[in-house]
């Protein structure tokens, strides 16, 4: 156990040192705090408002909603835990160094669990606790403690289960992606079929169980699960981690570069433009067309368009006009197409940034070109979706034009913010070696700064959606133009300052 404590302590000292020495780390911490406080405040307001209604509706309604609340919290924690497992367990030099140390498999597993809890989900656990204690405590009294116990033990168990699930996927699924996709498709189809059958038969399950007993039993189950995994099963699970690590290290890189039909022609056409923007588009096209994530994004886009009627009902319930529905939905679909890599538009370059810093153009030109290389695909996708949805909603030509204009203004503001803001996380000394490290650098929100940027960009998006929803169209256009101007000037300067700081 002492080696595990030593590793946890080293991580704590390293974080503490970074906060003391590195102004960027302090800034990240401050932004994270702002995002956490904003999220906490919003959750507290929502929870307090709803809690009174649930309380009034009776014990069963209250318990059902609080269970759902816990499930949502665990799902969110699980998402961050998976990211933390990949980044802490595989994607950095520290993981490689730890794997070379003479540690037992059980010690490795416990060390990884601690790192995930501390660096991956720690702030969310603190946030969830504060909100739950304050919101539930005032209404439920001592009963709130039982719910808090359930929430915390559930979080601890969820992190453990997410960790094992991630290790299993890396160990057994990544090597057989085609078969895994087929299996996943069959499993999804089966679940949907069962759900539809149950829905058609109007089957409902009624379970009556004392709420307190249920809470205690579930909490005990979570605690037992945790003790089992980190105790007697730690050696087996630690061995799984080791094997998953060896699987990742042993993956041979693809020797041939995939060239999809039409891409060669398109890339040749782009290579005619001997400019910085042309070069970025050329590189971006080839790079993205060979990423498995791109095809996932394409599938999500198609799914999103198909699911419009479902989300339309929600938007109508919130008072969105048909024009606002088209604008907001098309914008969100376009943002979904780029959101998970736009947040690292600049920072994903790492040490490759020196290619741009050494080339004979200034950094303002680089920022502009980078923005254009993201805006073009975002606006193209947004416009295409906007046209489809305008036709679907039977908007007039004038209304469709207004929707397209509003959407363009929203997308410009958002893209400006997230692309130029990503300069904040750039480190020109960062070198990625191997597929996993490259994936972490280019495609995943694995650093606190990236997560903060994503969080802030979502706040900006929510603000812009509110403007479109609440203001008359022409006034909304005017305000969005102003907002885009402010973001352009502010983030442009911010990006330039950060790029100049690099040298």
């Amino acid at each position: 156990m002492s080696s595990v404590l030593t590793l946890w302590r080293a991580q704590f000292v390293s974080t503490h040192g970074a906060l003391r020495e590195d102004s960027r780390a302090r800034m990240t911490w401050a932004i994270g705090l702002v995002v956490d406080i904003a999220a906490g405040f919003w959750t507290f307001n929502e929870l307090s408002g709803n809690l009174a209604q649930w309380y009034a509706a009776g014990q069963l309604a209250l318990a059902t909603h609080l269970w759902l609340l816990c499930l949502w919290a665990w799902a969110g924690i699980s998402f961050f835990a998976v990211i933390a497992v990949v980044s802490q367990g595989f994607g950095n030099d520290q993981a490689v160094m730890l794997m070379s140390l003479p540690l037992s498999p059980s010690a490795r597993l416990r060390a990884l669990y601690g790192l995930v809890m501390f660096t991956g989900v720690g702030n969310w656990i603190v946030l969830a606790n504060i909100v739950t204690v304050v919101a539930l405590g005032t209404k439920l009294g001592w009963q709130a403690l039982l719910w808090l116990l359930l929430l915390d033990l559930g979080v601890a168990a969820t992190v453990c289960i997410s960790m094992i699930a991630t290790l299993l996927v890396i160990r057994f699924v990544l090597q057989h992606l085609k078969r895994a996709f087929t299996g996943l498709a069959i499993a999804s189809a089966s679940v949907v079929t069962v759900f539809l059958l149950l829905h058609a038969s109007k089957y409902t399950l009624h379970v009556t169980f004392p709420v307190q007993l249920m809470l205690i039993l579930t909490s005990m189950f979570c605690a037992l699960l945790l003790l089992l995994i980190l105790g007697p099963l730690a050696t087996a699970t630690g061995t799984l981690y080791q094997n998953a690590f060896y699987t990742m290290e042993g993956r041979s890189a693809r020797r041939t570069a995939l060239m999809l039909p039409g891409m060669r022609l398109f890339s040749v056409w782009l290579s005619r433009y001997r400019t910085l923007t042309g070069a970025l588009l050329y590189k971006g096209l080839l790079n993205q067309s060979r990423s498995v994530f791109t095809w996932g994004r394409a599938a999500i886009l198609a799914l999103c368009v198909a699911l419009f009627p479902l989300f339309q009902k929600v938007m109508i319930a919130y008072g969105f006009s048909p024009l606002a529905q088209v604008t907001v939905y098309a914008s969100i679909v376009a943002i979904l197409a780029v959101v998970e890599y736009a947040a690292y538009a600049i920072s994903s370059e790492g040490a490759r940034m020196s290619y741009y810093l050494l080339a004979p153009f200034n950094m303002a030109a680089f920022l502009r070109a980078r923005l254009v290389s993201f805006l073009l695909p975002v606006l193209s996708i947004g416009l295409a979706v906007c046209l489809v949805l305008s036709w679907w909603q039977r908007l007039s030509l004038y209304e469709a034009g207004l929707a397209a204009l509003l959407m363009a203004l929203l997308l410009i503001g958002y893209t400006l913010f997230i692309v130029w803001g990503s300069a904040f996380d750039l480190d020109i000394n960062q070198v990625a070696e191997g597929a996993m490290q490259t994936l972490m650098l280019e495609e995943l929100p694995v650093t606190p700064r990236r997560l903060q940027l994503l969080g802030l960009s979502i706040l900006l998006l929510a603000g812009m959606v509110l403007l479109i929803m609440k203001l008359p169209v022409l006034l909304a256009i005017f305000v969005l133009v102003l907002l885009d101007g402010v973001v352009c000037i502010g983030l442009g300067r911010f990006g330039l300052v950060h790029l100049k700081k690099l040298v």
Partner: protein, 252 residues
């Protein structure tokens, strides 16, 4: 005034990191067509100096001229950058691009006309023995191949000045020999090469002049023969060990 016969010149170049002065009033001069070997122990200030030469690290004091253009002046830095090629000690490529596409991207980035770029890329792939793997993704390259591709990237725009941080590190003997021949050939064509290395035999065999840096200061400079004479040593390795030890003793 900048001497136009010099490819690189620094004047009182200084860089501090909090309490540590990594480079301390460094004066350097590299002539056109010269191969200059930059030697020093770990942490002596080699990489810091090189980063200041190429425009990746701003000096706290002093000036740098590359090909007659002042690197850190707002009006001349772009011209200085256009004249130089740089290979860092650790290279990072675009893993999903092929070797040829990577070079094409760099050529496009620098605005080289396409037909000219294609010809140049073909030449470089042949010289660096990368032809067979030119259509493979960079992610599948070995460490040595990545180093060679990075060097090709630095040469694609035919720079007048080449700055290389440990260029032979990680290369097999055949590739290392090929690169050394290439450096000599480039220098005879007028390209100035400023390279850092820990391989003293290489420095002795290909460099016209060698400079040894210690604690951010230029300890000694001259041809290998001059330095051997100065330290009454038989080879550059003994020169390096003798001179750096003397300086350490003097400091203590």
């Amino acid at each position: 005034m900048q001497n136009t016969t010099l490819a690189i010149r620094t004047q009182q170049l200084t860089r501090r990191y909090k309490q540590v002065t990594a480079v301390d009033g460094l004066d350097l001069a590299v002539r056109r067509g010269e191969i200059y070997g930059f030697l020093g122990a770990n942490g002596a200030g080699k990489t810091t100096t090189m980063k200041m030469l190429v425009g990746l690290l701003q000096p706290d004091a002093g000036q740098v001229w590359v090909d007659g253009h002042e690197m850190w002046s707002a009006s001349a830095s772009l011209a200085a950058k256009a004249a130089l090629g740089y290979v860092a000690d650790r290279t990072m490529l675009y893993e999903r691009l092929t070797g040829r596409e990577f070079l094409a991207f760099l050529a496009q980035l620098r605005g080289i006309p396409r037909h000219q770029a294609d010809e140049r890329i073909e030449q470089l792939l042949a010289i660096l023995d990368l032809n067979e793997r030119a259509e493979s993704a960079c992610g599948a390259y070995s460490f040595g191949m990545k180093r060679k591709l990075a060097l090709a990237g630095a040469l694609v725009h035919q720079p007048a000045v080449l700055i290389l941080d440990e260029p032979l590190n990680g290369l097999d003997p055949v590739s290392a020999r090929r690169l050394k021949d290439l450096f000599i050939e480039l220098a005879s064509g007028g390209t100035s090469i400023f390279l850092s290395t820990h391989d003293l035999a290489t420095a002795e065999s290909i460099c016209h002049r060698v400079g040894i840096i210690q604690r951010g200061r230029l300890l000694v400079e001259g041809s290998a023969a001059e330095l051997r004479q100065l330290a009454t040593a038989s080879n550059l390795e003994d020169v390096f060990l003798t001179l750096t030890a003397r300086e350490m003793e003097a400091t203590i």
